[in-house]
Symmetry: C2
Subunit: 460 residues, 2 copies
């Protein structure tokens, strides 16, 4: 075996192994939202803050490693070939979804804001202040950077053999998941795992494995860079930040605050000429959202279910559509909260009416729920897609031969924390997932109510 | 990433990927036996023949691939550095176990005999005729070549992703086995898996994994090349071929035939000055061997158990030693037939009296046998070593993502088939494992009897 001198020297020489290889290495919906913000809110100033919802610490690496990666991301620009792809590619069946003026701005003028990073009591604090257009994109870069630095810190503790076993176990685990999904009729699964991935290269491996083995059951990836690199469909439409910002801007007036969640959708459908109409109704509670929704919302293609039990949320939506005279079988729900194979198979069977060969209804974790609500009859009730995230791209639980849990995923989020100096709030369908200052959350709850929320504390 | 032009071109250019990288890539005992043969039987002519005891075919590759590999092996010579290692290294605590004259012959004059390879009814026939010194070494080279060609034929059917999953699954499986053995007190496990390995590189991976993770529980490898390359103990003493050849030479006289099995040991202890005294008593049946054994055989260090239930054979040996006034706790048994983790843990507990922390006696597959025969009391009854073969170096069962069994190990053997024109015979403790022409087997059975033999089907 002839030694590759150049490669060996390079492997010992390089200054930085960048996490953010490209500004396209983000969720595709960030680009759709960026165009929306650029168009409608170019002067709005917001702050994004990174929060750790897990008990596990993230501070297993040095802050200098973090700032080097953040600096590297800031130094990136969208490349010509990437902008050309955004301009010429077909997304959701439509070409030209991005305006030429936006793409020109993206290539020439787009810059990431500065960041504030500090260590306090041994924990990192990270936030981004500036124009919404300059801060919004930090969400994905900051999350994938922190997660990958945490992965690398854990990798450093393993021997070469330990590393080999770690990845062998993780690949075996991944393959067992893929095997369970193979051949399930009418399946629709997308990779939604960029933000909490183990690493970029692992996400790429996972996405290629899914693409090669699930056939039409794998419908694409939320990661724009991977979609570009591997000719896959880019998946995703919008996120909580838009209703959160619009609500913060309207907060002084109860009526305006309540109406802001629908104003988002009005502006969105106007921006995208009626395409990409997947709503995210849970920002301030899904039940109140539909109870008060204007009639035209029933024209939207579907919804993404991100914090409610998707069995419940799907049934609720089907019932609402029927009341509004729409055929639910034409509509779409996308579940995206903490899914794993059991959930995907169960929800797919429950809503799409397609059971995999040899799989029985009570094979699913949620069989009890399942049978309570639906006597099994084949046939679609509503279209169902799974947005498979953390447990697709970061399921290393039990794979570490040293067995210390350093690869277990953590619940890290990067959210709008203030808008023009006003606090931003998210309530969600899960009481425990609410974000914002306690007083402000209380005010929002008084306006939106708490109908249909889970995990609400029992008051005695 | 800069392309390594030389490597890429080389990967597409090479004529042959040799299985036999070195003549040391054989079981160490073949070298001990070769010296024995060179010393005592330099003019004896024998034939070795390859047999397939499995139902699975081996002919998944072209005969040209086989002959190319055999020709390559024939073109090899022992290298200077290898002979220097044999001369200077310590084996079983002794230096100079190989005579200078033998090593000189080995380096200068050793040649592999020619071979006869043909295809008949779509199955390979392979045999080696010549001086015993020139044919004996073919045993391991021919087996490892055929097994690896079979592996490569199966590898060719897999996609790059399929290959990756295959090895990920196999590594996970290996790691789970190692995990079960880690920390078991007083464990003695050696790699005996050269002949039926998946491939050379896989055996090397397995051996390095064991060495790195089992500490003193891993006592070495039977593979001389790996022992040399990785500074491990070379393990093994002798095999069936010596009693088979000596029996064939003595076959015309019943008494001489019966005595030949002890004559082997006499010659052996004389050759190695009383070292390396591990006997292999099952060639014509273990029970008759001990019943008729001369007193001095109780001085030997121990025995290898290769075809009898090792629980039964160990108990039988302990009882025999006691009758002959020897302390069994000073003696050694080495089990080497179709072992896997359960057998190793069970036998280790049964004979060495060391249970792993958290492991219960009835965790073992052989728990019924176990409890029938021994009321559990800690403490050693006899020293126990495991010679772990096929299921260490070739356990790919269930790992092939295409699921067709092409990687399942097969029971291929290469045995002495005739000696100076007379048929060679092995009876073994397993009726179904007898080798030789039916009439000759019958004659041997009339001389040696069938005491203590079982008729269990061969497990590959």
């Amino acid at each position: 075996m002839i030694v590759n001198f150049a490669e060996r020297a390079h492997n010992h020489n390089w200054e930085l192994d960048p996490v953010t290889r490209s500004l396209l290495d983000t969720d595709f919906y960030k680009l759709l939202m960026l165009q929306f913000i650029w168009k409608h809110y170019p002067k709005t100033r917001v702050q994004f803050t990174v929060y750790n919802r897990s008990a596990a610490p993230v501070d297993t690496f040095h802050i200098e490693e973090l700032t080097q990666q953040l600096d590297h991301a800031r130094s990136r620009r969208f490349r010509r070939s990437e902008v050309v792809w955004l301009a010429g590619n077909t997304f959701y069946g439509r070409q030209g979804i991005f305006e030429p003026a936006f793409l020109e701005w993206l290539e020439r003028d787009f810059r990431l804001s500065d960041y504030e990073a500090s260590v306090n009591d041994g924990r990192f604090h990270l936030s981004f202040d500036g124009l919404w257009t300059d801060t919004t994109m930090w969400e994905l870069y900051s999350l994938s950077i922190i997660n990958e630095l945490r992965t690398r810190a854990s990798l450093k503790r393993l021997s070469e053999f330990g590393l080999d076993i770690l990845y062998a176990e993780a690949k075996t685990k991944l393959w067992n998941k893929i095997e369970r999904l193979r051949g399930v009729p009418n399946l629709n699964v997308a990779d939604f795992g960029t933000r909490r991935r183990h690493s970029f290269l692992w996400q790429e491996y996972v996405v290629e494995a899914m693409a090669a083995n699930l056939g039409s059951g794998f419908i694409g990836t939320s990661n724009a860079f991977l979609a570009h690199k591997h000719d896959l469909e880019a998946i995703g439409t919008n996120a909580h930040e838009i209703p959160m910002v619009l609500a913060a801007l309207a907060r002084d007036n109860d009526e305006a605050l309540k109406a802001s969640q629908y104003h988002v959708l009005e502006l969105w459908q106007q921006t995208y000429s009626g395409a990409l109409r997947i709503m995210l109704p849970d920002t301030f509670g899904t039940t109140q959202f539909f109870e008060n929704a204007p009639e035209w919302i029933a024209d939207w293609t579907g919804q993404r279910i991100d914090s409610k039990d998707p069995y419940v949320a799907g049934d609720e939506y089907i019932a609402w559509l029927k009341v509004h005279g729409r055929d639910p079988r034409e509509k779409l729900i996308i579940a995206s909260d903490a899914l794993d194979v059991d959930d995907i198979l169960g929800l797919h069977a429950y809503f799409s009416g397609s059971l995999a060969a040899g799989i029985k209804v009570n094979d699913f974790r949620s069989a009890a729920d399942f049978q309570d609500r639906r006597k099994w009859t084949p046939g679609r009730r509503i279209r169902f897609s799974a947005g498979w995230g953390t447990l697709l791209t970061n399921d290393f639980r039990g794979c570490d031969p040293s067995g210390d849990g350093g690869f277990d995923p953590i619940s890290l989020i990067s959210k709008v924390s203030s808008v023009e100096g006003r606090p931003a709030v998210k309530l969600s369908d899960n009481y425990a997932k609410a974000l914002g200052p306690a007083k402000e959350i209380e005010r929002y709850r008084s306006v939106f109510g708490m109908a249909g929320m889970s995990n609400t504390p029992v008051i005695t």
